[in-house]
Amino acid sequence: MTDPRSLSPLDLDTPDKTFLDANELVINMGPQHPATHGVLRVILRLDGEKVLGLECVIGYLHRGVEKIAENRTYTMFNPYVDRMDYVAAVSNGLGYCEAVERLLSVEAPPRAQYIRVILTELNRIASHQLWLGTHALDIGAITPLFYTFRDREEILKIFEKYCGARLTTHAFRIGGLQYEAYDGFERDVKNFVSFVKPKIDEYEELLTTNRIWLERTKGVGVISGKDCIALGVTGPVLRASGVKWDIRKAQPYANYKNFDFEIPTGENGDTYDRYIVRMIEMRQSLRIIEQAVEGIPEGPIMAKVPKVMKPPVGEVYHSIEAPKGELGYFIVSDGSTQPYRVRVRPPSFVNLQALDLMCRDQLVADVIAVIGTLDIVLGEVDR
């Protein structure tokens, strides 16, 4: 048997030989498929149940967000970014706002920074909870989905109370915040922290030592740190492969350098390690939230920003650690009120490149597990 990694890229013209001879069977998964998390289409080339290679076909959800940006003012474009990774809308907004702030050379006041951190970390927990539920569902455990959605609801309630929206929040403004934290915001956040801590143990009880879960995830979709770096994979996937890279630590933004937290890493880079890493990340996020909510300073929530934003001519690349990995914004300003070009570096899109490598030589059922463990959001992949 030749090493499947040495095979040429998927050749879709390969004739579908007889099922028996089954050297190569080409199967189309998606775009309408329960396990592809949206409208991802995967063309699999199989030898029996073994994956020889696969190709992702994307673009079914393309809305031209980057192009739209060129015809909107900086302020007007802000809500659009929420629609990319819609399960982590707050993170998207944070990245965009900070990028434009850098372009304008302003900095949000400390109080705004703290509230931003709290909301972003809450959103990270929400994103991971959603990931856990759907991932477990893909592998066949249906119950965790309901547990996680129940607890995610509490986060969405806080969002709703804060800004009125639950999913596409548009929580931040360039230069700070639009809304002051409502009365009892701190109390709500503290309550949530104490509420969700035992719940995370509950998820782990269901899965972490479950024999079938271990068999389905250990050694599945292994990717080495080197390959991760070569492919540009970031986020929990990279960390599970043993690379300690988190932008919150590596290039601190907002005021993450004021908080004490750890970056979990895995060893084997398999699906199980990614699961563990995300579970620990949720706990670490709670740690950050606890510290942040204790230390919210008083003061203004909005920096001095001109009504009509005309950033100086120039360009800026700013990236943050979104729940799925490095989310970067590259904005070119030509001095007018509208950006000349906005380019988004979405973590899901980049991480999806690793799918082929991770699925080679695995079984079809593992493809499902691997898609789940990559934690992609098609809105962000296609933009």
Partner: protein, 441 residues
């Protein structure tokens, strides 16, 4: 009129099943009863699975159709019957038609020999357990043809998986069953039997459930069977053939409406059927708990009240929930419905206290209760476990269960023959060895 009553009474006091007795009329009545009972059981199972699973998953489950969604299965059934029946283009129409019927037929036919009581079976066959295994294995044919006839990749893979899985686990299942059958021959008078009723009678005669016989051999056999039967019915965590995240819906992806509901019916009937086998072989079938230890008329009387009490408790639960219903006018009908349902249950409970009834429904109640326990297990598995991968499933079947089953069979046989083994093997060999040692010295 009197003659009719007398006829019925004479039948009820018979000690034979209608099939054994060759009574066509009663056999037909029994077939109808079993069919109707089974359908009700499947409907109830449908509702219960949804409710129990929902409560495991911190949600309510069906609540709208009828009080606490009690009428939901009926609504579903109506919907399925009224749905358009789609046959995909390019499908093999004849086979596509026949396949669900094969599955349903196989699932229902096995109930011909299921003993709900010493006389409460349609017939008692000489080869009862063999018949059950054989006919239930016929459902593989239906699944394979269904998958093939759909002319689509996912059903075909699902069907192949399903049949490979069922064929594989049948082997382990068969070995576990054989070791139980071996135990029936240890009766002083009997020479062993394949008859379902005979197996239960053997347990009664030997004074213990086969589950506890030759501890721990009986329990191991039961465990093998309990695992294999989950795989055999394609239920979680062995539900690969219909793993929706991989194969959409497995072999019945292309089926809809009435024909789909047949598959549904067959799946649940098969679950009940294999649970019945387990109950019959290891859990003493219709026997009430401790029939030998707590015997005597007083204990009989005490135990015969339990079915009625159980129904009364169910009725009481309904009434309690009725009281908890919202007092809004919109809920009026539901409240009344729930109360009515409770009343019916309570009435049934009361009827079960009547001496002629309570003396005869005890067997059926205990059998059904044990089967219901298995049904709950099925639901519990589904709420807890992720799904196995196919190679892991095959590994469990062939590398774990099959060798264990073989070893178990040999151990059971040796244990059963231990006196012969002792007198004819161990003692002569030991004597010979002693002789050898003596000569050596």
């Amino acid at each position: 009129m009197h003659a009719l009553v007398q006829y019925i009474e004479s039948y009820l006091s018979s000690d034979k099943t209608p099939g054994t007795a060759g009574n066509w009329f009663w056999a037909t009545v029994y077939v109808l009863l079993v069919f109707v009972g089974l359908s009700i059981a499947v409907i109830a199972m449908n509702w219960l699975e949804r409710k129990i699973l929902a409560h495991m998953q911190v949600r309510l489950g069906p609540m709208r159709v009828g009080p606490h969604g009690l009428l939901q299965p009926i609504a579903d059934a109506l919907k399925l019957l009224l749905k358009e029946d789609i046959i995909p283009d390019g499908a093999d129409k004849v086979v596509f038609w026949i396949a669900p019927f094969i599955v349903v037929l196989a699932a229902f036919t096995v109930f011909v020999v299921v003993p709900f009581g010493p006389t409460h079976a349609i017939t008692d066959m000489n080869i009862g357990i063999l018949f059950m295994l054989g006919v239930s294995s016929l459902s593989v044919l239906g699944i394979v043809t269904a998958g093939w006839a759909s002319n689509s990749h996912y059903p075909l893979i699902g069907a192949l998986r399903s049949s490979a899985q069922m064929v594989s686990y049948e082997v382990a299942m068969g070995l576990a069953v054989v070791s139980a059958i071996l135990m029936t021959s240890l009766n002083e008078s009997s020479t062993g039997t394949l008859s379902m009723i005979g197996i239960v009678e053997a347990q009664k005669a030997q004074g213990e459930w086969f589950l506890f016989k030759f501890f721990p051999l009986g329990i191991i056999a039961f465990a093998i069977f309990a695992i294999a039967m989950v795989a055999e019915t394609n239920r979680a965590p062995f539900d690969l053939p219909e793993a929706e995240s991989e194969l959409t819906a497995g072999f019945h992806t292309e089926y809809s409406g009435f024909r789909w509901s047949l598959f549904f019916l067959a799946e649940y009937s098969a679950m009940i059927a294999v649970s019945s086998i387990a109950v019959t072989l290891w859990l003493g079938g219709w026997l009430r708990p401790f029939p030998n230890l707590l015997h005597g008329t007083t204990w009989d009387l005490a135990f015969s009240f339990i079915p009625g009490i159980a129904f009364l408790l169910l009725g009481a639960m309904c009434f309690y929930n009725t009281a908890r219903m919202p007092k809004h006018p919109l809920f009026k009908i539901q409240t009344i419905g729930l109360a009515g349902f409770g009343a019916v249950l309570a009435l049934i409970g009361l009827v079960m206290f009547l001496p002629p009834v309570r003396e005869r429904v005890g067997d059926i109640f205990w059998f059904s209760a044990k089967v219901a326990g298995f049904m709950y297990l099925y639901i519990w598995y589904r709420g807890t476990f992720p799904r196995y991968r196919f190679d892991q499933l095959m590994k469990v079947g062939w590398k774990v269960l099959l060798p264990t089953g073989l070893a178990l069979l040999i151990c059971t046989a040796l244990w059963a023959m231990r006196s012969e083994v002792w007198t004819q093997v161990v003692v002569p060999v030991g004597m010979g060895f002693a002789d050898f040692v003596r000569r050596l010295l």
